[in-house]
Symmetry: C2
Subunit: 209 residues, 2 copies
Amino acid sequence: MVQKSCTEAGGRPRGRPRSFDPDTALDRAVEVFWRLGFEAADTDALASAMGLTKPSVYAAFGNKEQLYLKALQRYGQRGRAEITALLEAAPSMRAGINAVFNHMAERVSGQHGGSGCLLTCVAAQSAHSMLPVREILEAGIAARDKAFTEFLRSGIARGELPAGFPVERRASLMNDLLSGLALRARAGASLEELREIGASATEAILAGA
Amino acid sequence: MVQKSCTEAGGRPRGRPRSFDPDTALDRAVEVFWRLGFEAADTDALASAMGLTKPSVYAAFGNKEQLYLKALQRYGQRGRAEITALLEAAPSMRAGINAVFNHMAERVSGQHGGSGCLLTCVAAQSAHSMLPVREILEAGIAARDKAFTEFLRSGIARGELPAGFPVERRASLMNDLLSGLALRARAGASLEELREIGASATEAILAGA
DNA sequence: GGAAATTTATACTCGATGGTACAAAAATCT
DNA sequence: AGATTTTTGTACCATCGAGTATAAATTTCC
């Protein structure tokens, strides 16, 4: 044996090298699914938007469903990372929550990709027929609940929130208000309206603080 | 001329009479779209669920898209009527809001039709590619905003809420929390969890009252 | 340089699906 | 009763879209 000399770092994997970066291709796929949804996004359009041919897509991602799942996961991970970063950088509770709402208002307003949220407005539909989608969605919601809960808890620790502050409830409240934000955006709400929503959402989340 | 003798009440409309009730057939279509979404609901499945043949569906409703639009409208109207009834019958602000959340928790939990909300979880996706869907969704959101606003206003009039209570903001808050409720249901949340959400939502909406 | 391996591109297959033609059935009008 | 009108059901069509066969291209290994 001892035939492969390059499975480790450095050396290329043997045959003709890929002419594209899978992650940036996946980002393009995200945008298409975001706009059209799973079924309406046909594989020709996906491949073309990704800048490659159908066989390349199938070789790299398996099939349409797997591509969809990977797109959802990538979108979800990126969103969570952004939120975490915003919350960690926030100088106060109010600033952090406001930053998240403003950020999501932009992301959801249709400037960057489709309008609305890929998970809230698109994955939600397929959650019923594709079990893995439901799981991704469930996990995404739980992760946000957790992130917000921890953030609010840190507010108690910092003395910015009273000891008895209902962190879990307000965290889930915040999560649900973001869903509403996404839906309104998909229905055509302007960035201004979304910012307004964010402002009163912040008030409600911090009520009693 | 003067050929038609029955366009008015009473007399049947001339040819072979329909063997089905369009409204109950539409209700069946609602359930199918609710579960599967627009594209995944194929016309054979729709016709069969509606208890009739494809040509009958097309004769009665036009085509798949029109059937979908009518289903969305019917679903929306029914939902609004239910909410209005609950609010009008409520003895207090808290009771009314709680009733709406409990009602929606049930409706959305998957017992009656698909899980989640047909508008929030299904129409949202097609809102991007089918303009009329976006309009129906937008109108539905606005109608709920208005209903909740009027309800809260009546609370001020009754002296149950302080004069300066931010009715519009809380109304839109309530609306968005219902979207979140629907999404969680579609993601698999149990009826218990949904009720919990409803309880803390009620608190948040009435905060400061 | 040649063999092996892997990606790319063109062109194709084949099943599913939205929609319909056509004839039989069931009603009204005269 | 017969003409007319509309619905019903079967069977069909045409298109679209997911996935692939195949051969050329590009790389590493020996």
